[in-house]
Amino acid sequence: MRKLLLWMIVLLGVFAAPVEAKLRVFACEPEWGSLLAELAADTIDVDVATNALQDVHVVEARPSLIAKMRKADLLVCSGAQLEIGWLPQLLRQAGNAKVTSGAGNFMAANQVTTLDKPASVDRAGGDVHPDGNPHVQLDPYRVLAIARALSARLAELDAANAAIYLQRLGDFESRWQAAIPRWEARAAPLKGKAVVVHHSAWVYLLQWLGMREIGSLEPKPGVPPTSAHLSSLIDVTKTGGAIAIICAAYQDSKPDEWLAGRTGVPALVLPFTVGGDEQAKDLFGLYDSTIDRLLGALK
């Protein structure tokens, strides 16, 4: 009899487990995975779909991602069509109505105003995003707005832990608000300085730090650098007084080094997202590393 009771308790445990299951979140990019870790800790399970060494514009709708999407309760992505090449396919194949729209579908770029919204859209202009530049993770003010919205969304979907989300948001906000002036003070020498970029992925960072973009290695967004275009950049880079040629960790830095070799302006690989280098272990580290590296180019 006692044995039976024991078995029943075990069985109950097995069947009760899914009821108490944690909120499962599918994060398209590592920066949102990191933000979720700040906002939720162990109250949720997070699957991060991509890493810092992948070009999120062109990830494939791999079977493993479909399986992860199938189990998700919440989808957190950059949006603004950044993931248009794979996310719609994942959603259609996963058959998970919870995340296709509504509360389970969270797009970071929708929570803030985007820059670079094109007046007209034409593929001759390269890989343009009609909803504006989606790479919003390198402006701390926008990240803060996104954090607030995301925390509210977590609390909405997982009301039982709402108090935790509120408390963690407060904690994150105070640390983040304290970090912003620190970063701004350290980055003050960068103000007004010019850079040449690999891909137009840095507008938010450059705007925040008051820096200028004087050229782009990609002749058009998403179009790989051509030798003719690179040659035309030699003059621009020299006369424009660029302090660095910047590219993201996932990009092939060969064209950057080619241009660096001909202009004497250093090629600088920035982490771009969490995991992009040793120091960028979380969002704070991402900003620390980015500013450190940019300051390093001044010397």
Binding site: L87, G95, G102, N110, D131, Y141, L144, A145, A149
Partner: protein, 447 residues
């Protein structure tokens, strides 16, 4: 002094007096004067408003300047209370379906006349034959797709093709799919390509070669699609697992004649896949297509079971296939039929019993060495039956190599060389030059 004072008084009072006199005499002018006063007042108000607006604008500008300089407040909109809808133009066009066009052209040089092409043991069915010789316009595709409402998605794909100077428009796919079923279920109805095998559900413009493998040509008439319904389910597992079933009208090869009151073909399929480390992914599947045929294109009447096994392995550094990677893929087909065959070219000939198996397979590898270039090799093989109406001593086989240049995701040029031996003593060397472009909305591709 007095006259001066008088003059002053006069000068001050006279205009008023004169005005008063005129007012009395001309009420029209009075009305006009009244209107002018009103207009003047109005103008003053407007001026005041303009000044206010200017001040407000200046204030806003200075505030913006301040914000720019101090950046204490973010230039962001907290829209957390709003529905997470993507910003859309307010015009009615915003609801138009996504329109995608695929244009495709070829130059093909066959060593042997395509009209003499026979495939030993495998009569040509559907679009499973060789392409014509010379300059050709390939299949042009127009596709419309959109979410219909909160529960349904719809897609229409039209194919335009010219053959012997005539243009044929055909409905390649036209289906409605659910987007809001619970627990990983998705249902679909309409005309669509079956989910069996790997390549079958993929549109030909995503292929690595300019034509389909021989097994697809021989057993499925290039690609099996028909009118029907589909139900599929994705399991809530760590490893991707999808199972599903379909019922089709049974009009197209290998089915024929829409038997069983127009439910002549059924399928079951299962696909599984996952990652191995961060550089490797795989996808494998097993499917069965059960079809009944009445007077099929190849003269067959009876039941057929086609078993398909597919396997894909993709290697790419950090899973980023855009810049470099290797794909290995193979599919194997077993065709098991029982029925009778009447030679379609000689309807008077006596029916022959046919109960047996034929097989086919292909192996292909693709090496992508830059964002712009990839090269591929494919080996095709079919195993004919040794007895019965389809008997043949020769097993058709083909080698193909292709080099493809991608200017962007939206355009490619391909050079393909093939050495095709469809029958004994018939060697067709084929050179194909192909361009293929996609215009407009570009839907995400399946893995």
């Amino acid at each position: 002094m007095r006259p001066l004072a008088l003059a002053l008084v006069l000068s001050l009072t006279l205009p008023g007096a004169a005005q008063a006199a005129r007012t009395e005499t001309d009420p029209q002018i009075a009305a006009l004067a009244e209107r002018i006063r009103a207009l003047e007042a109005n103008a003053q108000t407007l001026q005041k408003q303009a000044a206010e607006a200017l001040a407000a604008a200046q204030a806003a500008q200075s505030e913006l300047q301040q914000m720019k300089s101090t950046r204490k407040d973010p230039v962001v909109v907290d829209r957390s209370d709003e529905a997470p809808a993507t910003a859309m133009n307010a015009s009615a066009n915003a609801f138009n379906p996504a329109i995608a066009l695929i244009l495709n052209g070829l130059y093909v040089n066959h060593a042997k006349d395509p009209l003499d092409y026979r495939r030993a043991g495998f009569p040509l069915v559907g679009e499973g034959g060789p392409s014509a010789d010379g300059l050709l316009l390939g299949e042009s595709e127009i596709s419309f797709a959109a979410n219909i409402d909160d529960k349904f998605y719809g897609q229409l794909t039209l194919a335009l093709e010219s053959e012997d100077g005539e243009t044929h428009a055909g409905i390649e796919e036209a289906y409605v799919e659910t987007t809001a079923l619970a627990d990983g279920f998705t249902a679909r109805a309409g005309r669509f390509y079956s989910n069996i095998g790997y390549l079958n559900s993929h549109h030909t413009h995503t292929d690595y070669f300019s034509d389909r493998p021989l097994a697809y040509q021989a057993f499925l008439g290039n690609q099996y699609g028909d009118d029907g319904v589909q139900l599929r389910w994705v399991a809530p597992t760590e490893t991707y697992l999808e199972i599903g079933t379909e019922a089709f009208r049974g009009e197209n090869a290998p089915a024929a004649g829409a038997t069983h009151n127009g439910v002549g073909a059924k399928t079951f399929f299962a696909h599984a896949g996952g990652d191995v480390g961060s550089n490797n992914s795989w996808l494998a599947g097993a499917s069965i297509l059960h079809a009944d045929a009445r007077d099929g294109e190849d003269g067959f009447s009876g039941r057929s079971n086609l078993f398909l096994f597919d396997f894909t392995w993709k290697w790419a550094p950090h899973g980023a296939f855009k810049d470099s990677g290797i794909v290995l893929r193979s599919e194997a087909f077993i065709d098991d039929r029982k029925g009778v065959v009447i030679d379609p070219e000689d309807p008077q000939a006596p029916a022959q019993d046919w109960d047996g198996k034929r097989r086919g397979a292909y192996v292909e590898g693709l090496y992508r060495f830059s964002r712009s270039w990839d090269v591929g090799y494919r080996y095709d093989r079919l195993w004919a039956a040794s007895s019965g109406p389809y008997a043949s001593d020769h097993d058709p086989q083909r080698h193909s190599i292709a080099a493809t240049w991608h200017n962007s995701e939206f355009s490619l040029l391909r050079l393909q060389l093939a050495r095709d031996e469809p029958q004994a003593h018939f060697l067709d060397n084929v050179l194909t030059l192909q361009y293929q472009v996609s215009l407009g909305a570009h839907g995400a591709h399946k893995f």
